[in-house]
């Protein structure tokens, strides 16, 4: 049934190109240092227009931006604090290796997975 066959997503950019991208923080994100040395970030939640309309019509939303909080673990806090708008993903992975003494490939996978997750939530952008 080729009509319904799910196509494998093809990478748009190469791995080397992806590692050269620079993560930039969303200026609307606020960070809080927690007592245990970890970090919590608060970011505005992007609401889908159709959902916003329904929520507004039933009185669940007053059009103010919704804020969501995310508590980062130690390694997440380290990567977040290393995002300075100048360092590339590769440089962040190298800093991760220096801090935690893990293998470079392992650090690249961990850092890119973290960046992908927070990128999907609109917490950072890539340039």
């Amino acid at each position: 049934m080729p009509l319904f066959k799910k196509r494998q997503p093809q990478p748009v950019i190469t791995r080397a190109e992806a590692l050269q991208m620079i993560p930039v923080r969303n200026s609307a994100v606020e960070e809080t240092n927690l007592n245990n040395g970890l970090m919590e970030i608060a970011y505005p939640l992007s609401v889908k227009p159709w959902f916003g309309k329904i929520a507004e019509s039933v009185g669940l939303w007053d059009k103010r931006p919704m804020i969501k909080r995310l508590e980062l673990d130690e390694m997440g806090s380290f990567v977040w604090s290393s995002i300075d708008g100048k360092s590339t993903v590769k440089q962040l992975a190298e800093a991760f290796v220096k801090e935690y003494d893990v293998q470079l490939r392992e650090a690249e996978l961990s850092v890119t997975a973290f960046i992908k997750t927070i990128g999907q939530r609109g917490i950072i952008g890539l340039k």
């Binding site: 390694m75 935690y100 893990v102 996978l109 961990s110 997975a113």
Partner: protein, 304 residues
């Protein structure tokens, strides 16, 4: 140079070559995002026919032009490498392939003593790649014989008794795991997959970064909660050299004793001096592995 030892075969490559795909009987190495070497192997019984394999390859890759190469026509470094391998008792047949602007060179190897048949191919970006490919080819090793078999992958190395077969493996960030299996009968049959039926599982694990994992706990507590929560806590012993060890019968009853199904387990967890990692070796199953054997296995396991 980096040494790759995997499921009874070994290859030494430049340090820039790293695995991008790994299977039980094959791996693909790449350098800066480009494939450079592919290795596949299996044990065959009876005669090995190179011509049949070339035909099979050509049939499976219809767009690729594959031709057998007479050793006299091969580049000199390749000839020397083939000669080195042949001296170890293996048969070598070389071939070349091309597809559009890609080309490569490879060899089918067969060890009549062990039945190991190997297909190795190199992706040649330019003519200057041939000496490197030849050096890597010459480094090929068959570890099917001997008392123990080495393995080395993703910065870890270890040795297992030759009777153990590779079962499963996973290399995820933070947790690497390689599992071997020995059936109770002592020999793995072709009909039963590894890990099924009575036998002993031997696992090698690496957890990292240790500094984060052990931040608010100690090794003994961490071992109990992360490795095997069903393990009786009294079995765990905290040895002075910052390691945890255990040994005992974890599942036993009169019926199990009668059926010979008591479950024995021994393990050792320790922190590495370099690499900020926790290493763990465990042997569990229906056979009680001799302590000296287990000790030797643990001593061979290290971060490279």
């Amino acid at each position: 140079m980096t040494e790759f030892r995997w499921n009874r075969v070994g290859l030494t490559t430049p340090t820039t070559w790293e695995p991008s795909a790994l299977e039980r009987d094959g791996f693909l190495l790449e350098c800066e995002g480009q494939p450079v070497c592919e290795l596949k192997w299996r044990t065959i019984q009876g005669r090995f026919s190179f011509e049949k394999h070339i035909k099979k390859l050509s049939k499976g890759h219809k767009n690729v032009a594959i031709h057998a190469v007479d050793i006299q026509d091969a580049p000199e470094p390749w000839r020397n490498s083939v000669s080195t391998i042949e001296q170890s008792g293996m048969e070598v047949h070389s071939f070349i392939w091309s597809l559009h602007n890609l080309k490569g060179m490879g060899a089918a190897l067969h060890n009549p003593a062990t039945g190991l048949a190997v297909l190795i191919q190199f992706f040649l970006a330019s003519d200057s790649s041939t000496p490197t490919a030849s050096t890597v080819l010459a480094s090929f090793k068959d570890f099917s014989t001997g008392k123990s078999t080495p393995w080395a992958m993703f910065g870890l190395e270890g040795r297992v008794p030759t009777s153990f077969v590779l079962n499963t493996f996973s290399f995820k960030p933070g947790h690497y795991s390689v599992l071997y299996w020995l059936p109770k009968s002592g020999k793995q049959s072709d009909r039963t997959p590894p890990g099924k039926g009575p036998g002993v599982a031997l696992s090698f694990e690496r957890f990292a970064p240790a500094s984060v994992l052990l931040k608010e706990t100690n090794l003994i507590e961490w071992s109990h909660s992360n490795l095997d929560p069903t393990l009786p806590k009294q079995l765990l012993t905290d040895t002075p050299a910052n390691e945890v060890a255990w040994q005992g019968v974890t599942k036993s009853s009169m019926l199990r004793n009668m059926l010979g199904r008591s479950v024995y387990e021994q393990g050792r967890v320790w922190m590495t001096d370099t690499g900020n990692a926790i290493l763990c070796v465990r042997a569990y199953g229906h056979l009680d592995m001799p302590q000296a054997t287990f000790q030797t296995i643990c001593e061979s396991y290290a971060v490279v």
